[in-house]
């Protein structure tokens, strides 16, 4: 499944991306400090480069026209 998730690349390229994913998992896991910390490893996205992953799955953005309401500290104090 992870060897050719979106086509466009040769098996050798895709395997290279997979190996880089393994390096990334090791780096991410090296910061785990205790029980309950997140852990990372092979899943359905391991054959995608970070760029491919972002182009496919990270496509939401806050609206530029929106000015999100920020609650005031005074109001928060009152409700607490």
């Amino acid at each position: 499944l992870f060897m050719d998730p979106v086509g466009e690349r040769s098996p050798a390229d895709r395997y290279g991306i997979f190996l880089k994913s393994l390096e990334r998992h090791a780096l991410l896991n090296s910061d785990a400090r205790g029980s309950g910390d997140a852990y990372y490893g092979i899943n359905q996205f391991s054959g995608l480069s970070p760029e491919e992953f972002a182009n496919l799955y990270l496509q939401s953005y806050p609206s530029r026209s929106l000015d999100p309401y920020v609650p005031s500290k005074a109001a928060l104090g009152g409700s607490a």
Binding site: V6, S21, R24, H25, L28, D31, A32, G34, S35, G36, D37, A38, Y39, Y40, G41, N43, Q44, F45, S46, L48, P50, F53, A54, N55, L56, Y57, L58, Q59, S60, Y61, P62, S63, L66, P68, Y69, V70, P71, L76, S79, A80
Partner: protein
């Protein structure tokens, strides 16, 4: 506030979806919030049409991306009634907007609210409990490799790129965390869910919070 709260315990959250190669997390997130809110106010829990939002929300770009607040703005302005998912199924591609007669079953919203709770995650807990699951936009770059546990590193605020749905929280353990429903299928993460540490705006989870008023 309780130390643990999860809308799934009340059977008011629909199943995890899979957006496949369609970049419409924003639509899955908003439709999930509407499904739950509609059930919380007394209607049956129904899978509503994500494809309808993808095809029809002209403020967004379908499978090429969008924003949760634009989707809510469109739903509010157009008074669109979301039909059942079975009536307008997900196709993982952007298509032509399909219109339904006014007599057709559908769920509409009366308004929406959006907040920046980056310094006020306690308020976010309040909203979650009193209103329902809430749509948020997070930095999900490191989520590519996530298998389980509580995300507390390698995730920044201020770089929002992925919309998800917060359905609960758990503060009973050493590390309190938000319970977050994703749209990458049940084989990803913890049966399709991810846990994100509470209290430090990890992944920017409190930067852009939005929910429908119904």
């Amino acid at each position: 506030l309780p130390s643990r709260f999860d809308w799934r315990d009340k059977k008011l959250v629909t199943g995890v979806k899979n957006q496949l190669d369609c970049g419409a997390c924003w639509a899955f997130s908003i439709v999930g919030a509407i499904e739950s809110r509609n059930a919380i106010i007394g209607h049956p829990l129904e899978d509503l049409s994500v494809q309808q939002v993808i095809d029809c929300s002209y403020l967004d770009k379908g499978c090429n991306g969008g924003s949760t607040d634009n989707a809510l703005k469109w739903l509010n302005q157009s008074h669109t009634k979301l039909v059942k998912s079975s009536e307008y199924p997900f196709k993982a591609t952007t298509g032509a907007c399909h219109y339904f007669p006014p007599t057709e079953f559908g769920v509409s919203i009366k308004g929406y609210e959006a907040y920046d709770f980056s310094d006020y995650e306690e308020q976010m807990m309040n909203i979650l409990i009193n209103v329902g699951p809430i749509a948020v936009i997070v930095d999900a770059v490191s989520w590519q490799d996530y298998l389980g546990g509580i995300i507390q590193h390698h995730c920044s605020s201020g770089h929002s790129n992925h919309a998800v749905l917060v359905v609960g929280f758990d503060k009973t353990g050493d590390t309190p965390y938000w319970i977050v429903k994703n749209s990458w299928g049940t084989s990803w993460g913890i049966d399709g869910y991810v846990h994100v540490k509470m209290g430090q705006n990890i992944c920017g989870i409190a930067d852009f919070v939005a929910f429908p008023v119904m």
